[in-house]
Amino acid sequence: MLTVFELALRSMRQNVKHYYLYFFALIFSMSLYFVFTSLQHDQAVQNMTHPSVDFFAGFQIGGVILIVIVGIFTISANGIFLRRRSREIGLYQLIGLSKGWVARYLMIENILLGLGALLAAIICGALISRLFVLFLLNLLGLEGIVDISFSVPAAFKTLMVYLLIIVITSIQMMLKVYRSTLLNLFQADKRPDLTKPPKAVASAIFALLGLVLIGYGYELSGHINKQLFLNALLMLGSIVAGTYLLFRVTIRWCFYRFRKRKDGHLGLTNSLSMAPLMHHTKANANSLTLITLLSAMTITMISMAYSFYYSVEQETRRDLPYDFMFENEPQEALSFKKELEKEGIDVKHHVVEAVLTMGIILDPNDESRKFEESLLWLPAEQLKQTGADLNIPPDGEAILYNAGASLAGDLDEQSKRYPTEIELEQHGQTVMYTLRTLMERNIMNLNAPGTQLLVSEATMDKIAEQMAGTPDYKKIRFETYQVPDKEELAIASSLYNAKYVSDERLTYDFYTQYKVVLQTTGLLIFIAAFLGLVFLISTGSILYFKQMTEAEQEKQSFKTLRQLGFDVDMIMKGIIRKQAIVFLLPLSIGMLHSIFAIEAASFMIRSDTTFPASIAMAIYTVIYLVFALFTIGYYRNIVKKAMS
């Protein structure tokens, strides 16, 4: 007499070829989780990074997202496998085994399978985590050999994730066994969702609504940084709902119209692509929506992270155009220069003499908005000597340099303010200067006082003359240093940090700032890429599993077609079209979503995101399409074997 346990073991051995994908998916997601948490708990890497980089928090948030995606993935995969095994579940009940028995049997099988996957995941994870550490160090711009030891807390957390997976899938199994009737179980393959024609008016309305919602979401993304939270939520909601309607109604409606126009003359290729897709509209709509949204999320996430990482140097340069800057500190500046020269470091030293006054920048769109601020007048001719990239403004005109401008609101909106006037109060008299335009970068390092205004030297001298003696009038002597060689710059930076940093005033040097931002964004891109990989593999696997199941169900059709005289290549043409729809539709819509999302989020990055975002998308697409190729390969095999 076989016990439930023995039967479960035996069935697992026989079903290995059906399970192996589910099994690998489990191993994969759990081992990545293990690696991720191992890194989180690893002190060695943490100690090497700059203290201001929040290592732990980044990993913690990443970990939570990872659990969520592993959960979604397991539910989807398990759902597909349960559907596939409906007949088997029905058969057990048909021969008189109770629902409780069947549920117990499935659960034992699941726990054993999961346990195997857990062990494999921890072993794999421990082996590959070194690789990931090297990758992370490389991204953070750190050198050194780090030995990562087996992390017990990570193993424990992975065990928790395993338990979570078991609980979720067991609930799913119980629902399947207790909720479905025998008839449902036996007809799971055959039951079409919707073959009735869609109701014309209602469908047309909903089909349009889907498009309108997506359009509205896109429209919102254009001005998201006004009322950021509300708009972001609205945008997300309308795009999610719109995408669902798109797959559930719009595309089905288009297919239906197309098919109706064909009036039976569908042709082999459409018979093998459009017809089966329409046959399972409901199930397909759910999974395609899920995949579209996951793709959109992943692409946005990695594109943004990569854009941040990619533009670190440019971004830092916008804030800090000079490697080092001293402000009215001739002794320090001199001794720093001597130190650099002693080290044999090639350095370019310049002096810029500027003037600080109080004044008002008028806003032509808002007359009442008048507040006095510190204005730093910088002489263009002197700055040009330092190698700065600028045009000397005509006399009497100024150009505003502000690296943080885009954070204060929409740039296009702001640029409407210019040209405007600057109002200076001098001994009871008012003088006006023209403010021509705004540049989104600094012309002097971030820590220089006041709003940076570039003027010709003559204009500055005139202002100095006019404003001398007014309150808060000040002459400032900036000394700037540029170290062209990267390695020498690193040494110079450590010299600077050893002696010239003080708590009393703001001191920034380019290299230190660059390193901190590089590490923060490096961590960001690492986590994003890691999550992105898991997302990508999950979405790809869900599609692959689904198509595999459909391929099995369509076996008989392929056999019939082969017997009717259609050869493998003819049939494959239809299948390739189906895969093109199934894979490319969510990818392209997801990508379109993410383009708008990146556009909306790009106010956080001043540099152009086109290049890094394109790279990220290209990599995503390539890996994603590998799954499509696998699926097509699987189908080809089935079609080939259909006749024998």
Binding site: P192, G264, H265, S271, L561, Q563, G565, F566
Partner: protein
């Protein structure tokens, strides 16, 4: 429509052998079958289970390969054709009706029927008129836009028959077409097949174990142990008389039990 030269040979099988299995464990299923089918014939193949009738059909229909002998269809030696050519041959010259219909669940009746000509260069108008005439004969016009799961067994099999006939094949192979039907649907299908055979001159080779079904044929070939045991021609006999003759041979052959007429 094909030019009908009654008496012209459509299918010629000479000394066909088929063995299954590997060396040392072979099963000799067909042991030298000679069969000639002429244009517009309706040939039934009968025989007890294991006599090789389905194997013979598969070999004749190019679905399976013979081990020895030759099969000519329209003077073409089918064993000499490459895989691609064989597919094209099946698509253009042969029609199939299977016991379990084998319709595509995802396609409507009309789409299923039009499938075989989907890759041919036939114009849409021509295809439409072909479909209409066949659907009229088979009485399934009203079902055009229904899906297989909405049909009865008989309706499904008539759809399958439509699919087998749409491209005007030289020969239609039917494997137990009434096997899954109740007797009423079966006889209505057979009526239709007879009508198609007589009106359109379609050549049909049908495997069946049902003497009622074979009584519709113009000739019945009996197999036993992989060889042709005997042949009966209907000639001018009534179907009832032919049925009784078939029953007599069947009784000698033994094997399958028989439904009463």
């Amino acid at each position: 429509m094909n030019q009908l030269n009654v008496g012209e040979t459509v299918l010629q099988a000479r000394n066909v052998h088929k063995t299954f299995g590997t060396k040392g464990n072979t099963q000799h299923v067909l042991k030298g079958i000679d069969l000639r089918v002429t244009r517009s014939e309706f040939v039934g193949i009968m025989g007890p289970s294991g006599s090789g009738k389905t194997t013979l059909l598969n070999v004749l229909a190019t679905i399976d390969y013979k081990t020895d002998g030759t099969v000519l269809i329209d003077d073409e030696d089918i064993s000499k054709l490459s895989n691609t050519a064989l597919s094209a041959f099946r698509r253009n010259k042969l029609g199939f009706i299977f016991q379990d219909y084998n319709l595509l669940d995802t396609l409507t009746v009309k789409e299923n029927i039009l499938l075989p000509i989907s890759l041919s260069k036939m114009s849409r108008r021509k295809a439409e008129s072909e479909f209409t005439s066949i659907a009229d004969v088979l009485d399934i016009k009203a079902l055009s836009h229904k899906y297989p799961h909405e049909l009865s067994g008989g309706q499904k099999q008539r759809t399958a028959a439509g699919r087998a006939l749409i491209h005007q094949p030289s020969i239609v192979f039917a494997d137990e077409p009434t096997g899954a039907l109740d007797s009423k649907s079966a006889s209505s299908l057979l009526d239709v097949m007879e009508k198609v055979n007589q009106q359109r001159g379609v050549t049909v080779v049908m495997v069946t174990h049902d003497p009622v079904a074979s009584s519709y044929c113009s000739r019945v070939v009996f197999l036993r142990d992989g060889k042709i045991y005997s042949e009966l021609y209907r000639g001018d006999k009534t179907r009832h008389a032919f049925f009784n003759e078939i029953m007599d041979v069947q009784a000698v052959l033994g094997g399958d039990h028989v439904d009463s007429f």
